[in-house]
Amino acid sequence: MHKRGLGSDGAAPYVLLFPLIILLAAFILYPVAMNLFSSFTQWKGYGPQKWIGFDNYVKMFQDTAFWTSLQNTLVLALYIPIGTFFTLLIAALIREGIKGWKVYRAILYVPNLLGYVIMGVIFSIYLRDDGALNVLIKAAAGSPLHFLIDPVLAINTIGFSLVVWLHLGFGLIYFLAAMNSIEPSIYEAALVDGAGFWKTFTNVTVPSVRFAIEFFVVFNFIEVFARMFPFIYTLTQGGPGYSTFTLEYGIFAQAFQKFQVGYASAWSMVLFIFCAVISTLQIRMMRRREA
């Protein structure tokens, strides 16, 4: 370990950090601070801002769209443990080697590559009532599934496709990399002890990749709370009704479709609190790993 605190590098660090700090101040710090201020005002996004105290918050807590959006966001979050377990299990199953893995890996990674906008539009075609998947379902079961039309099914369709399905390739590469750093002798010892797959999975694999699991879970929380707007925008546009509104999508709808920017800022403050908690957890994890 290098001895720290022996003097400093003078002005150089600040010069090197200057571009980053200026950009962050202008495009992240200042917006977050101004957002707090806006949440106490009535404002269209242009023109004068009128101070109205807590009115936006009172209105928000009485707004069914807000509670639906919050509930939907939490429904999506419930898919995180499912997706994590599913991905981890498949990674453990193919850890020992599988024919064609390089090709499978490339194919399963394609959704991550194409991004939420392209995948959202593709799924909006694929999952339509008369889309390809429903042609197959109709042939097998007689009637189609209204993936994007039924309000309850719609939010669950998004939960499954975004949290479980689209991240499968990413998750497998990620978990397999973590599993590859486990000492092979631990697995050999488990085998000698007569432990089967399940016992090895719970007693060896999961504890050994604990950090990777934590990161994957936090990554998914960030996706659900802070990154999935483009997917909903292209797949359901929040509909039918408010049934696939999330906090993020609600902010977009209030601010850029209804031009109630002050009101949208109150929603943003709720999302800010969730994200601040997630961010703090993530930082604690990163620091613990560095220690």
Binding site: I28, S38, G45, A132, P230
Partner: protein
Amino acid sequence: MKKSSVFTLGTRVTVQVLMIVLVLASLLPLYNIVSASFKTADEFTSNPISLPQTVTWDNYHYAAISGKLLAYTLNSFLFVPAALLLYIAVCVSAGYAFGKLRFALRTPLFLLVLFLSIFPQLLLATQVFKMISSLHLTNTGLGVILSWVAYFAPFGTYIMTTFFAEMPYELIESARIDGAGPYRILLTIMAPLAQPMIATIAIIGFQAMWNELPFSLLILQEQAQRTLTVGIALMKGEFGLRVPILSAALVIAMIVPLAIFLFFQRYITLGVTAGAIKG
């Protein structure tokens, strides 16, 4: 080296079959789009999933020219590489400062960068738009470039910081004894050694900016300025339910990300693990 196995042959076959099913299931939507893109509107209605009976290129022609996809692609090729150069410069210099230099505010500033790295774009969007307007940069490449670099740089900085932090100090010490200052050490010693990691954050940054929607949607409101991603996102509304044309547009939009993947697969795999797993 052969790994020890708890699986019988039967289990191994089951796992293999499971993987093939998963792969086929994820290929199905892509196949659906590609085959639809070669069908006429009439054929798609009567035959949504089989291979096209007669192949037509009209959808591609329409999407690329009338749908302006070609123009949007050019915009993306103008804005994204320019943003990427700025992003790399910002992340590498900041990562070097955080990872290898000593200064009083090192820890608090680094924590601030980490803290700011996850906030949703929608939370920032109204104020970012206001900022860009007051700089008279709406509908300009520079406007989106600044907003992209600001938003994506914290994560790239984090990756570069962990990379530089693990490089041996001896390299710096001996250069210092030779009289090199921090800038020269960065440019002549550190940056060349960091090339694989710079390639990794370049790929991460490229994908993030190429696929970025909220900021570009707001900042680039003139149709002529749209990026490919904005164009695709708005096309659904503009083309209505003309699925074959929309499908052709999607196939065109897939080409660049897939080409990047084929050429830089190594760095993409590195990128998946760089954020968290060390060593």
